[in-house]
Subunit: 254 residues, 2 copies
């Protein structure tokens, strides 16, 4: 059996906060016991806020490229400038949206730059090293609660061909994001040839059902009862090149 | 709190079996109580087997198109022929794999045609009307257990840009696959403009963590504690046209 348990009572976090300690305190106050082997899923929004990955739009001067993409997409040129600074290349730009490959290799809408859940006039970016963010939360939880947990920093992202966002991992600590079933026998004792699953994204989707969106969202959730390996980094989920990436003519961010 | 509970003891199903009744019986035998408001997630593999959506490769004569794509991909031309018969168009064909848009509009590897968990020399295809399959399971469970459940027929699928399959829905009954947060206030009381989540796929990913893959897989899982709307069909998840689809020059299946 798998259970997903929200951790209520996390305060509105601010730059410089020790997120791991705040999580441990919120769990203690709400009598939510964190156990060995749990996976703590933490929304990237709160991680970015704690780490100060927030940009004031009035401080941003759009480049020529940003103006060009702003014209195509209809977006604020300053937001587009922040998006381009986070990007290796623009995968797709259409009215209303941009899909970019981020500096770390994620392909996602607006390179993960988000106005929601930020003060007016500010946007947040993805954490600069989300695996490190996850490790630091795991360390604080170990120090304060005495338990060994895996941590996943999660985001809610759309994807090609299907409507609606799902939960995906952007950083991991203490969990292998990919699980391989290659070589495992199927129902008819034939070995599976290609099956790999993205445990980390599946966990983030399970967590997302409890996290919700919007103001009443719970940014920290415990997922308990998952079988997982312990080694790996978020890079294990990303392709250096895949056929879909190759199909899109990219451009380098300025 | 959300819980995901496997239903053990489903027999190896065969063509013509009443899957809903077999699920109700397996739940009863294993003392797994199905409750009002539960979501039953059922792997498409067992649905296809019950419905006879299985093709004997020795009966398949590959067309010229199938031979062409077999040469590109290195796949068995008879398997490619089955894939093309299930497809509106080929989105991408490379050595080792094909991505197709199915007749119902799913974009997925091999149009959902699968050799795993089938007898040697056979492949299974996606159920021909997976929403109807889901409804029929819900009806049988209602008749036998007296409870009103949502049913999702799930598959395990890869996606562009990220490694590893995740759970996705291919058919639904009694659940809105998409949940919209548009207009809901965020942390700073600003209304969210675009956030829609694919509840159905998130539920299938949560279920997939308990289902597993390979021989010891549990094809039926209960997901309990999810907030969901009751109306909708799997078509709600599919784009008529989206930018990614437009980027790919397609071809019609013969």
């Amino acid at each position: 059996m798998l259970t997903v348990i929200g951790v209520p009572g996390l305060p509105l976090v601010k730059k410089g906060d020790d997120l791991g300690s705040l999580i441990a305190q919120a769990a203690a106050r709400s009598h939510t016991r964190i156990q060995d082997g749990d996976i703590l899923v933490v929304s990237e929004t709160v991680v970015s806020r704690c780490e100060g990955s927030v940009v004031r739009l009035d401080d941003v001067v759009p480049s020529a490229s940003a103006l060009k993409y702003a014209a195509i997409t209809g977006k604020d040129p300053r937001v587009v400038e922040v998006v381009l600074r986070q990007s290796r290349r623009v995968v797709l730009a259409r009215r209303g949206y941009m899909v970019c490959e981020t500096l770390r290799g994620f392909v996602c809408a607006n390179a993960g730059v988000d106005a929601s859940n930020n003060e007016l006039g500010y946007v947040s970016t993805l954490p600069s090293d989300p695996d490190r963010s996850a490790r630091s939360i795991a360390r604080a939880v170990k120090a304060l609660c005495g338990v060994e947990v895996a941590v996943i920093v999660s985001d809610s992202e759309g994807r090609p061909f299907r409507k609606g966002a799902i939960g995906v991992a952007v950083g991991v600590s203490g969990i292998s994001p990919i699980r391989s079933f290659i070589g495992t026998p199927d129902l008819f004792a034939r070995k599976l040839e290609t099956t790999q699953v993205c445990t980390a994204d599946m966990v983030c989707s399970a967590a997302g059902l409890v996290m919700g969106e919007a103001a009443e969202a719970l940014p920290v959730v415990i997922v308990r009862g998952v079988q997982f390996g312990k080694d790996g980094s978020i890079g294990d989920v990303l392709y250096e090149e895949d056929a879909f990436k190759e199909e899109f003519e990219g451009r380098r961010a300025p």
